[in-house]
Structure formats: C-alpha cells, structure tokens
C-alpha cells in the first residue's frame, strides 16, 4: 500500500459511530443467537475477519502489474478473472471474478447499489464511502459528476461503464499503465496501484 490514503482529502469520512440503528442492533442480536446456538464460534468469526483484513489492495496491485507485463496473462485475466487470480496463489471466495479493462476510450467504475458487495477476499475491507448511500445511489445515475468529485475528469471521448455488482459476481478494474514505465519492474509497477484505481474512482496513476 502506498501513502495514497493520506494525501486525498476526498477519501476522508468520519469514523462510524457505535451501532445505534435498529438494523445494526438486530444484526448484533442475530450474531449472539447464531453463536449461542452453535452455528459458529467467536474464534471462527475472528478467523474470517483476520483473513479479510489480511487481504489488501496490494494484492490487486500485483495482479495488475502481472497483466501489464505479461500479455498472455492479461488475456486470461480478462477472460476468466477468478481462474487467473488463483493462478497467482490468491484464495478467492467462490464468486465469479470479472476484471474490466480501462483504455484510452473506456473508463470502468464499480458499485453495488443494493448493498455493498465488494471483492473483500482480494482487496480487503471496502472504504466507508463505497458503502455510503450517496455513492451507491449517485454513481449509477450521474457517474461523470461523481467521478469528477473524486478527481477523475473525463472528456466525451471516454465512454463510462458503470458495473452494478447486484448478484454473485465481483469486480476489479484493470487501470491503464502510466506512460514512461516501460522499463519498470513488475514489483515497482505493483506499488503504483491504488485501491481507488481498482474500484474505478481514480483513473490516472501517479508515478512521481
């Protein structure tokens, strides 16, 4: 992970308060009941949380860097994301994994309007704004305006593709390789890639 989280004020959101909504309380009560009835143990819950926290956008960065440097791998990644990602040793939940490629005339962005589906098993926990009602409702209806708020300025020459993750698929964007990186190693390239570029709320990767 780079220091990307620190220099973009747009990603700032206040911490979530303790659960106060009825829905959150129901969720906590349900958890107590499920554990009490022996459906799973607190230890198993901790293992799942640890696995999710162990995943990070750096894993996505390594996959992107491989795709940039190995055209045959890129073809496999775009054809069947889950298979190609497992090829690099990453364990994925049994979701279909779809990788969408940005190019000079296409910009992809990912959302889950119905809840907040996110490729957690690969990228780790989602940012708070991804789960916000504002992002989820607006990025489908006015993607260019929302993207501009994230600093992504698109001309009319660039087509926007919004991917609504409504069911069983999970998505990752394959960002464009920055100019002037032809001689860069795969490792150095991987370090360029940010979480937001994998969601599609960042288009240009900084090389400085």
């Amino acid at each position: 992970m780079t220091d990307n989280d620190h220099d973009h004020s747009r990603t700032f959101q206040p911490d979530h308060a303790e659960p106060t909504s009825e829905g959150a309380r129901v969720g906590l009560a349900l958890r107590e009941l499920l554990i009490g009835a022996g459906h799973y143990t607190p230890e198993e819950e901790q293992e799942v949380i640890a696995a999710m926290q162990g995943a990070s956008p750096a894993d996505g960065g390594r996959i992107v860097a491989r795709a940039w440097t190995d055209p045959a791998y890129k073809d496999r990644l775009l054809e069947n994301g889950a298979t190609a990602i497992r090829e690099l040793g990453y364990e994925l939940e049994p979701y279909e994994f779809t990788v969408m490629e940005n190019d000079a005339n296409t910009h992809n962005v990912i959302v889950c309007t119905l809840c907040s589906c996110y490729p957690r098993s690969l990228l780790g926990m989602s940012p708070a704004w991804y789960k916000s009602a504002s992002y989820r409702s607006r990025v489908v209806r006015e993607p260019r305006i929302v993207l501009a708020e994230f600093g992504v300025e698109l001309t009319d020459e660039v087509d926007v593709r919004v991917h609504d993750s409504t069911a069983e698929l999970r998505y990752m964007v394959l960002p464009q390789r920055p100019d002037g990186t032809d001689e860069w190693s795969e490792e150095k390239l991987a370090a360029l890639i940010t979480r937001d570029s994998l969601i599609g709320t960042q288009r240009v990767l900084r090389t400085d």
């Binding site: 779809t98 119905l114 926007v160």
Partner: protein
C-alpha cells in the same frame, strides 16, 4: 441441462415486478431493455435462498443498458453504459 437460454448480443427485457421477498434486481433496472454482455454461471436463486433453499440454481447474465435509457436528462454521452447482473428468470427476449 441448464443450457443458457440467452446468448451474447441478444436483446432482453428485465421483468418489471416486485415479489415481496428479497430479490437482486434494483428498481431502476426493472422493465429496461439491454444486450446480453456475458453469460455467467449458475447461482442460487435469491428469492428462495433467503428462505434457506436456492435450488435449482439459476443462470446469471450480465446485461448492458445505455445510461440514457435508464435516467431522464442523463448527463453524459449516448455511449455511456451500465452493466448489471440479472438472473435468467428475470429476463425475456425483447424486440
């Protein structure tokens, strides 16, 4: 068995209905027409899954819809698209 009912490129309409159970079709997409972008795998039907039984599994398709068909006064180009996953039992061929 379970051969896909639709093929890439076919025009399909997403059903406009509101079953009083959990389902995975957002209201903005109901009744809209798009093209099959990709034929995906078989997955448990959400309307039954929520009651503890998602079988038999249903085919999922990715459907590509022009943004200007979804939203009035859409601010963008007529080439902007939205792509969404829809279960087969929510789709029918469109003219």
């Amino acid at each position: 068995m379970n051969a896909p009912a639709f093929a890439v490129g076919q025009r399909v309409r997403i059903a406009d209905r509101a079953p009083p159970v959990h389902h995975r079709v957002p209201s903005y997409a109901k009744g809209k027409v798009g093209l099959i972008e990709r034929v995906c795998g078989l997955h448990g039907e959400p309307e039954k899954f929520i009651r503890g039984d998602g079988m038999p599994a249903r085919r999922i398709y990715r459907v590509r819809i022009p943004q200007s068909d979804l939203w009035q006064n859409y601010e963008g180009t007529d080439r902007d698209k939205l792509e969404i996953e829809i279960f087969e039992h929510w789709l029918e061929l469109a003219e």
